[in-house]
């Protein structure tokens, strides 16, 4: 699948914003945040949500028709995504105005914090369902896709709280163990997801047939097209195995090992710069993960494209036993 930068920015931005909204609601309800810290967290969430929202506009290539986008709420997850992402953005904007100019001491503020967090989770869930409910994209068609997108969003949002609350702060000290456990959970989910991606690579091949009798097949010509398949964005030249493995390694490093070390060092030393390194590492890891999520996804139409993994032709191999009578 051709990776679209707009979708990458949308999903990453939406995840960070929703994760921040959930972290903010939880921390404020526990009474461990100052008003100033809460305002900064809201503004960060609004900024990341806005970046994601603006990016999503650029994914529409025919803006004149954008006014029809909510027409198919009954069946289209994209219609629902436009609605829920819009609602989340709206509730965040209200929350920002409230935090800056209104009274934050009331129960209504806490209630609105949780409404915004729920809107963020709903928006993330709908976006994840959009990907998970497409049977033709074999790699995404699994519930693990939903868990993966949700958990990475929550993790990246939680890591961004480090920009406001120093990692050495007592709040992080209390939560760092829970965060470490959550990181291990995210890595486990990613491992499951990649396993499903691997199975999808092997599931459909011209070799194993496309519904046609007399398999195996070897593709010779796809009918006037060539990589990178400009007109057919649902496919993308296969990623070489060493490049894929490199990405796996980098993602584990940036989402797992690096942030875990940051948290541990922060507990032990309290060095402040780790507060910036921690969200930085997680964010880079999530961007790499999302690029691979798109670029490495197997679409069922791949069986009709020539660059599937090469298997040597057996036509050239000498036949030991059976041969046509005419050649004997």
């Amino acid at each position: 699948m051709r990776p679209a930068p707009q979708l990458l920015v949308l999903t990453v931005g939406q995840g960070i914003a929703a994760g921040l909204a959930v972290a903010l609601a939880a921390l404020w309800s526990m009474g461990v945040l100052t008003h100033r810290e809460a305002v900064w967290l809201v503004l960060l969430a609004l900024l990341t949500a806005a970046i994601g929202g603006v990016a999503s506009f650029f994914h529409m290539h025919h803006m004149a028709a954008a006014r029809y986008i909510l027409r198919r709420l009954k069946s289209s997850w994209l219609s629902r995504e436009a609605l829920t992402t819009g609602l989340f953005g709206g509730s965040l904007a209200i929350l920002a105005a409230w935090s800056l100019f209104g009274s934050t001491a009331s129960w209504a503020y806490v209630w609105w914090l949780w409404v915004t967090a729920a809107a963020g989770l709903l928006a993330m869930w709908v976006t994840a369902m959009l990907y998970a409910t497409i049977p033709a994209v074999l790699s995404w068609h699994t519930p693990v896709t939903v868990i993966s997108l949700l958990s990475l969003g929550l993790l990246s949002g939680a890591s961004w709280t480090g920009l406001v609350l120093p990692l050495g702060d007592h709040v992080f000290r209390v939560f760092s163990v829970a965060l470490m456990v959550f990181m291990l959970f995210v890595l486990g989910i990613k491992a499951l997801h990649w396993r499903h991606f691997g199975e999808s690579h092997g599931r459909l091949r011209a070799e194993t047939g496309t519904g046609l009798p007399f398999a195996p097949y070897r593709l010779q010509d796809t009918g006037t097209t060539k990589p990178p398949y400009r007109m057919q964005t649902q496919v993308w030249p296969a990623i070489p195995v060493p490049v894929r493995n490199l990405f796996y390694g980098l993602i584990v490093l940036f989402v797992g090992v690096g942030p875990l070390l940051c948290l541990l060092l922060a507990r032990l030393t309290g060095v402040e710069v780790l507060s910036v390194i921690f969200p930085g590492l997680v964010s880079v890891g999530v961007v790499l993960e999302r690029w691979l999520f798109f670029a490495d996804a197997t679409h069922s139409s791949r069986v009709f494209f020539v660059d599937e993994p090469r298997h040597p032709s057996r036509v050239a191999a000498a036949a030991k036993k059976r041969a046509p009578v005419s050649q004997a």
């Binding site: 049977p135 010779q220 097209t225 400009r230 139409s301 057996r314």
Partner: protein
């Protein structure tokens, strides 16, 4: 009613005249144009019908197979419900799946949802396009009735393609599918394509010389 095209894989010789006539008709037709901005510099343009060439079978029983692939006008077209604007729709009266270019936003979600990869993105107009089953020909009353059929069906020199209503049990296409075990591609993905292919008859199996001589000795 479900209009469709049945292709006999025994008759297709891979001449690509259906591919060319589709491009020709739809570049000048009422539903087009198929974008072709720089046809000489960049032949990788938009094609609504592509002929896939495959080598099939195992040595020594190998052969080359040509598979014309355009929209399958699926019964349960997965490209339709995913469309957020309703631009992709399936006509209730004849089952043809079409795209309204005025309401398409070019999000390409339908391209992901289509299992066959027959939808193509028009970068110039920012919308997705695909085979229309030549609906502009089927409904053009200025054409003589025998010409009201898809351009690719009309141009096939070997009459490998047959056009008709698959929901009518007495139609030629229904008869071919019933009698010749017509099949659809990638059935496991549940789109229920209306376009069917007639399977190739197996090539005769080779016989070893010794086996032949033994058989001849036994008999004569």
């Amino acid at each position: 009613m479900q209009l469709t095209i049945i292709t006999d894989l025994n008759k297709c010789v891979g001449c690509k005249s259906c591919q060319m006539s589709c491009k020709e008709h739809n570049t000048s037709g009422a539903f087009g144009p198929v974008p072709d901005e720089t046809p000489y510099q960049d032949p990788d343009g938009m094609w609504w019908n592509r002929i896939i060439t495959m080598e099939s079978g195992e040595y020594p029983n190998t052969s080359v197979l040509y598979l014309p692939k355009a929209c399958m006008h699926c019964y349960d077209a997965p490209c339709v419900p995913v469309c957020p604007t309703g631009a992709s729709y399936k006509r209730a009266d004849n089952g043809v799946v079409l795209i309204d270019y005025d309401t398409c936003i070019g999000c390409q979600l339908c391209m992901w949802a289509c299992p066959y990869g027959v939808r193509e993105f028009d970068e110039e107009e920012g919308v997705v396009k695909k085979c229309t089953l030549c609906i502009d020909r089927l409904e053009d009353e200025s054409l003589p009735p025998q010409e009201r059929q898809p351009a690719c069906v009309q141009s096939c020199p070997t009459h490998a393609r047959t056009f008709g209503d698959l929901d009518d049990p007495n139609s030629e296409v229904s008869r071919l599918v019933q009698e010749r075990q017509g099949f659809g591609l990638l059935p496991e993905l549940g789109a229920r394509p209306s376009v069917h292919y007639l399977p190739r008859r197996p090539a005769p199996s080779p016989v070893e010389r010794e086996e032949l001589e033994e058989a001849l000795k036994e008999r004569y």
